[in-house]
């Protein structure tokens, strides 16, 4: 499979305190298309920082990140926003749906930013929400949905733009066991059937069990990288 993400010698140093904090130390990581990867490790090991850098949300202090051959480390803010829109789907720990939009509108929103026409938007949103077993909740606002349901809408939103890969930062942290199982099964199914690439950050054993590849971080460095 083709290389999708290539992170070379990534370091991230925060200077917000008197003593600089080294969040990532010379990390090298390659992700191929269709992988179902979990980045694991204890709190503060640099999982979220790595995910943010891979997703173009944050800049590394040194090193290079290439996505499908495009170097995003030197991209300007406005180009990076556009790049994220076209290439990367995000799922957040706290769901972060737009509270004033319904489930369907939340999924449509990304496609609206991509200037897709109304018919295409509506059809794809319905199709994705159906896939997420949310067909009966199309017109519900986030406040009317459970945590698990909101996270399924968030996954549908992440997939709406047909991104090259989906980054999910602790997607199951706020979910109960049943919702976690359900969500992971759905994402694994999409990964399997559509060859969609997922990268999680997690310290949830259930996610680790489902992942095909486990990248373990400790103190900002990769200490193991196991494919199963």
């Amino acid at each position: 499979m083709a290389t999708l993400i290539k992170a070379t010698d990534i370091s991230k140093v925060y200077h917000k305190t008197a003593v600089p904090v080294h969040a990532l130390n010379h990390v090298n990581l390659t992700v191929r298309e269709g992988e179902f990867t979990a980045i694991v490790g204890p709190s503060g090991c640099g999982k979220t920082t790595l995910l943010n850098i891979l997703g173009g949300l944050d800049h590394s202090s040194s090193g290079k990140v290439e996505i499908a051959g495009t170097d995003i480390t030197t991209m300007q803010d406005s180009r990076l926003i556009d790049f994220r829109l076209h290439n990367i789907g995000f799922v957040f720990q706290a769901y972060n749906l737009i509270p004033v939009l319904t489930a369907r509108e939340n999924v449509e929103f990304i496609m609206l930013l991509l200037k897709r026409n109304k018919k295409e938007r509506e059809e794809r949103a319905k199709q994705l929400l159906h896939r997420m077993d949310m067909s009966d909740k199309l017109h519900h606002r986030p406040a009317e949905l459970s945590g698990g349901q909101q996270q399924r809408v968030a996954v549908a939103r992440a997939l709406a733009s047909q991104p090259r890969f989906v980054l999910a930062d602790e997607p199951t942290a706020n979910l109960d066991s049943a919702s976690t199982e359900n969500l992971l099964d759905l994402m694994a199914e999409i990964n399997r059937e559509e060859n969609a690439t997922f990268i999680f950050s997690t310290h949830d054993q259930r996610v680790m069990d489902k992942a095909k590849r486990l990248v373990t971080l400790r103190d900002g460095a990769i200490i193991s990288d196991i494919s199963r």
């Binding site: 926003i81 556009d82 829109l85 939009l101 509108e105 449509e108 930013l113 939103r157 733009s161």
Partner: protein
């Protein structure tokens, strides 16, 4: 969808948005009422001045306004009267003889302007007859005279009393004649109330030795007449007289009119500035409450310019939501008070002293309402800039992880 998001966001916190919209409604109502009240104050003063003092226009000998010598009478009054009768914009006219002199009673004496009038013509133009508060409007007695209440008090006379008018005739001879006070005038006009005596033109002309002389022709016009244009066209026709509209005769009225227009604009700016601070405060709170959401939008791929437009749209919606209701209530208030008036009779003494009527009828033109609405829109746009700018300053990563 940006518009939908912005509109729904306005109603996310109904109580807070309700307070802002309510303050905008009250602000616009206050603006409409304040503007209408101020305009009615001026309109009352201008109408009173036009009716009782300047009329819509006056015609004099070109030298009369400089010297006011009785020798400067209008050379061809018949020709001018013929023109005024033919001119469709002219409603009524009257001819006057004017001379400065002295009035004395058995108790007091003071300088006055003696105005010789034709009783019927004058009543048609200045409605002088409607101002009689005591006695009657000219009568068959020999040499009748009308004077204002203040002058009456000064001279300590009442209807039936005799007064002596002293002045110079056409030959420069001091002439004194006895007149009988037949009526007392009640007016908010200082000129009528205190400094003028009205007598019959025929009586005074005879005493001046200039029978048939006319020093002043005053005319009124039909509503919506451009008085300055009429004065210009009459001036072109009659080169040997000076035709002036009320704006030229009383520049202070023109100034007051301009000043009132500026005052309304200042009032709009003050009220809108107060509203703008309220709107900015509310929107800043809304932005601060939604830092994470804004971060997510930017993380997902929404450009900062779009976030800026979204917050601006939201602010504009919030600002103009109360506009139509405020204008409607303002319009209803002005319409009602414009019909039934605001009774300021409790303050009438003070108002009359400065020439105002004690009942005011507020009125606003369509253009005034439009000006207010434009003011609201401009305020909305200005008030939206800072919250929108603030919203795009966040770093998506920090915003997403904010509480």
């Amino acid at each position: 969808m940006l518009v939908i998001i912005a509109w729904r966001n306005v109603w996310r916190n109904k109580a807070r948005s309700g307070v802002v919209i309510g303050s905008i409604v009250i602000g616009i109502w206050a603006l409409s009422f304040g503007g209408g009240f101020m305009k009615s104050f001026l309109a009352s003063y201008i109408q009173s001045s036009i009716l009782h003092e300047t009329s819509n226009g006056q015609i004099h000998h070109p030298e009369f306004s400089k010297d006011q010598d009785i020798k400067f009478s209008i050379a061809n009054p018949e020709e001018i009267i013929g023109f005024l009768k033919m001119e469709k914009r002219v409603r009524k006219f009257c001819m006057r003889s004017l001379v400065n002199g002295m009035i004395s009673s058995s108790r007091q004496a003071t300088g006055v302007r003696i105005v010789g009038v034709d009783a019927d013509q004058e009543a048609g133009v200045t409605r002088l007859d409607s101002l009689i508060s005591q006695g009657q409007y000219f009568s068959d007695v020999s040499h009748p005279a009308l004077l204002g209440e203040k002058l009456r008090d000064k001279l300590k006379v009442k209807p039936g009393a005799k007064v002596i008018l002293t002045f110079q005739d056409i030959n420069g001879m001091i002439t004194a004649a006895r007149f009988r006070v037949v009526g007392i005038l009640h007016s908010s006009s200082l000129a009528i109330n205190e400094t003028s005596v009205f007598v019959l033109k025929s009586d005074i002309n005879q005493l001046l030795g200039i029978p048939g002389a006319v020093h002043e022709i005053a005319y009124t016009t039909i509503p919506e007449t451009d008085d300055q244009d009429l004065a210009r066209s009459a001036s072109l026709k009659f080169k040997n007289v000076k035709v002036e509209s009320w704006q030229q005769l009383s520049p202070v009225l023109t100034f007051m009119q301009q000043w009132m227009g500026a005052s309304l604009e200042i009032l709009i700016v003050i009220i809108m500035a107060a509203l703008a601070f309220g709107i900015v405060n509310t929107m800043l709170m809304a932005v601060l409450e939604r830092v994470r959401e804004l971060g997510v939008l930017m993380a997902l791929g929404m450009k900062r310019s779009r976030v800026f437009v979204m917050i601006m749209t939201e602010t504009i919606f919030l600002s103009i939501a109360g506009g139509p209701l405020g204008l409607l209530i303002g319009y209803a208030t002005i319409s009602y008070l414009g019909r039934y008036g605001i009774d300021l009779s409790d303050y009438s003494q003070g108002l009359e002293a400065i020439g105002y009527s004690d009942i005011l009828y507020p009125a606003l033109l369509t253009s005034d309402y439009l000006q207010i609405m434009i003011g609201v829109v401009i305020t909305a746009v200005i008030a939206s800039v800072y919250p929108a700018w603030k919203a795009i300053q966040y770093d998506p990563v920090e915003a997403i992880h904010s509480l």
